[in-house]
Symmetry: C2
Subunit: 451 residues, 2 copies
């Protein structure tokens, strides 16, 4: 389709079908993804595909989950998505604010949140699919659709409710306008160098020292310059592993640690200070993700180590407070926990306002594929900077996607295919749909034989 | 059963069955419960009954919802409750901390929260049923079971994780110990006078001025001394209705208003200050329930009007922050949104520490029945005071319960029957189970005929 100058024009295209899948990958087999809180996750997704009346045009989106319970999120996705059949795409995207309202502010479902937990995870899946569809219909990778939208049009799509004391719509437009100069130069920079990443793949808590050493060496060879390891189960173990990693990566490369919420506030301060001799760039999720004031206390006590959080920060109002109170020095947005692009861009703008770098959470399935678009957009159109900014990278499950991330020298290459890079391959869906996919049926049969 | 001196002893009784119902009452027919955010709720519940191997001994619990979406909460309740079959009750209550961990910290399900939204609502239902069962097995109304438990034993049941910077277990025990003197005197006071309530039944937003006037006059006749009305849709309407109520109730009776989260922070300040000529005791839910810092700003700007919130504050960590930052002057715990008695008593203790009165949220179905036990316990064993404390009262649906609240002169009478007053009558379940109950089937049939 040749893009018209009206970004909403879609020639009357209409959604004719919605298909929804509960997809689970048996990652617990090898403890990829294991940390102090999640000891054996099966990386999963509630996956939704919106089909249109144009052959080959569809939109895919999902929310990330970790196994059991995905069926409940999937039911909520069904509730939110089923009414989309029969909608015209141009109406959906032209009135994105209304769609956002519909999937996040339904007066019945907001009682079950509001804007948090299962209902909000489901809203993310539906909206991610909508953004994918819009970008595909325009023939653009999502980051470029966002960059090319007029700031006023983009701001109309954003989740700005309850932010007025920190970010008004007018201010959001002005921020985007101000950064328009230099768009092309920054796009060129990304096309040539990519966007820096950091790797979490070497330091899952379930891995042995030898495994960690091997993986860090491999990652150094691959060109990574920033590494994150999991901590929080045993201080001596953490010190030993952190020292191994530091010795391997040298002084110039960055080391981050992630405690996955295991500590009380005073314990976090003690533990991080005990680890700080290793030279930490950030401590991630030191305590309860709802504890804004607790994070602020920790941030003051462990400086210059930065406090990072966000993968469990359930909406923009949480980020408004984390950012405005100085509780975080690194802002970890999550494209599947918050309401997709609509809410994540609101947070990018607030982070820019408070001068906090955004380093998206991507430790899951498909999160790398999605968040790269947001970070590219952040650099091009919001922050204009790559300083102390990385996109998280985990190695597994990219092969499940039709347009997987491309990494070179520890950097994410600029996505080129139209859409949000969110489409899983038909083979992946056939194999890992739960419980009817071929892989899960085979496992059930094997289990039955063992009994 | 004659209580032994060991509060955990249950003669080996075991849970033999779990039954779960999606119960919905068509309250939207008459707009009871309507407010600025929830325009036409059908008050509902995910209801769970734990049956034991002793004839006639069971435990009932539920979480409160408002219609559509209850089926999803109900599925989550099923996930959490199904493993209880075969458990010995004495193990469940002796190791209440483990049970709490099991239903709120399951590593898969906490990804869908943690401790918020659908998963936490479901945890409340299961734990409410467990407390009802324990109190029934001991032959005591729940408030008395709590009062009679040794402070050390009670504190072992509480949700204290992530509170260490504000409330340690040792401090919790000491607070309860300190208040032991005077228990019997305060119980006598409650037996004679009841616990003061305030009524929300006169001021739902969907009611006409004439309805409001009639209901307020009736409530004055019944002896109520504190009244709450809904505001936030239109300032002129709010002023007119508030003046009507104030004129009727005079200067000595208290008037509270509830905005159900409709305002931005600056708008809340403006609106409340515009209303304050009427003489408001508190403004409830002025803005987003996640916005702790926003509430603190509003609290400073609208004083001496107090800021109240809590019915959407999803866990103790939110209350820790609301209380420690001076963001609220009235603490509105919710027995169905937080993890039952275990988490609500933690909040009672923190509220006492920060000298903030607790006035539980009870605008729903069955909430009055449940929270009265907590407020009685709060007075007897935690705060020792009734000053500026009221239990919310709404008039509808008490007839659905086997042991409904008893109100006299605007006060709640001390519950006497064993348990948590949480049992719905078999007739109510048969009529309002959704969609198979007789009432819903009749409505579906009528609707089909109209088509």
């Amino acid at each position: 389709m040749k893009p018209s100058t009206d970004p909403w024009e879609m020639n009357g295209l209409t959604i004719v079908d919605v298909s929804i899948h509960d997809i689970r990958f048996p990652t617990s087999d090898y403890l990829g993804g294991s940390d102090a809180m999640n000891t054996a996750p099966d990386y999963s997704a509630s996956y939704v595909q919106l089909s249109t009346d144009r052959e080959g045009l569809f939109g895919c989106g999902f929310t990330f989950t970790i196994g059991r319970g995905t069926e409940i999120v999937t039911r909520m996705v069904e509730q939110l998505a089923r009414d989309l059949v029969g909608r015209r795409i141009d109406d959906m995207v032209r009135f994105m604010a209304e769609l956002l309202q519909e999937v996040t502010q339904d007066s019945f479902l907001r009682w079950l949140g509001p804007e948090k937990g299962v209902t909000h995870l489901a809203a993310a899946a539906v909206l991610n699919a909508t953004w994918d569809l819009w970008a595909r219909a325009r023939g653009l990778p999502l980051w470029r659709l966002l960059v090319e939208l007029d700031p006023e049009d983009l701001v109309k799509c954003l989740a700005l409710r309850y932010l007025e004391d920190v970010l008004t719509p007018e201010e959001a437009v002005a921020m985007l306008q101000r950064r328009r100069r230099g768009h092309e130069e920054r796009i060129r920079h990304l096309a040539e160098n990519g966007y820096p990443g950091y790797t979490t793949s070497a330091g899952w808590l379930g891995y042995s020292d030898a495994q960690v050493q091997h993986l860090v060496e491999k990652a150094i060879d691959e060109g990574w310059s920033a590494f994150k390891i999991k901590v929080g189960r045993d201080l001596d173990d953490d010190l030993r592993r952190a020292r191994i990693v530091r010795r391997l990566i040298g002084e110039e490369r960055h080391l981050m640690v992630d405690a996955n919420q295991v500590w009380e506030v005073p314990q976090a301060i003690e533990w991080v200070n005990a680890l700080s001799e290793i030279g930490l760039h950030w401590i991630e999720e030191p305590t309860c993700p709802d504890d804004i004031l607790g994070h602020a206390v920790i941030a003051r006590a462990v400086a210059p180590v930065l406090v990072a959080t966000g993968e469990h920060a359930h909406n923009r109002v949480m980020f408004k407070q984390f950012l405005s109170s100085g509780a975080i020095g690194v802002c970890q947005i999550d494209i599947c926990r918050m309401a997709s692009v609509n809410e994540n861009i609101s947070v990018l703008l607030m982070a820019e306002k408070f001068d906090v770098p955004v380093c998206p959470h991507a430790g899951g399935v498909g999160l790398c594929e999605l968040v790269q678009h947001l970070s590219m957009f952040d650099y091009i159109a919001v922050s204009g900077s790559l300083e102390n900014r990385w996109i998280e990278y985990v190695e597994h499950l990219h092969e499940m996607f039709v347009d997987p991330v491309r990494i070179k020298n520890g950097s994410y290459l600029l996505p080129e295919a139209p859409g949000f890079s969110s489409e899983m391959s038909p083979e992946a869906i056939a194999a890992y749909a739960y419980p009817t996919g071929t892989v899960w049926r085979a496992r059930a049969a094997a289990q039955a034989r063992r009994r």
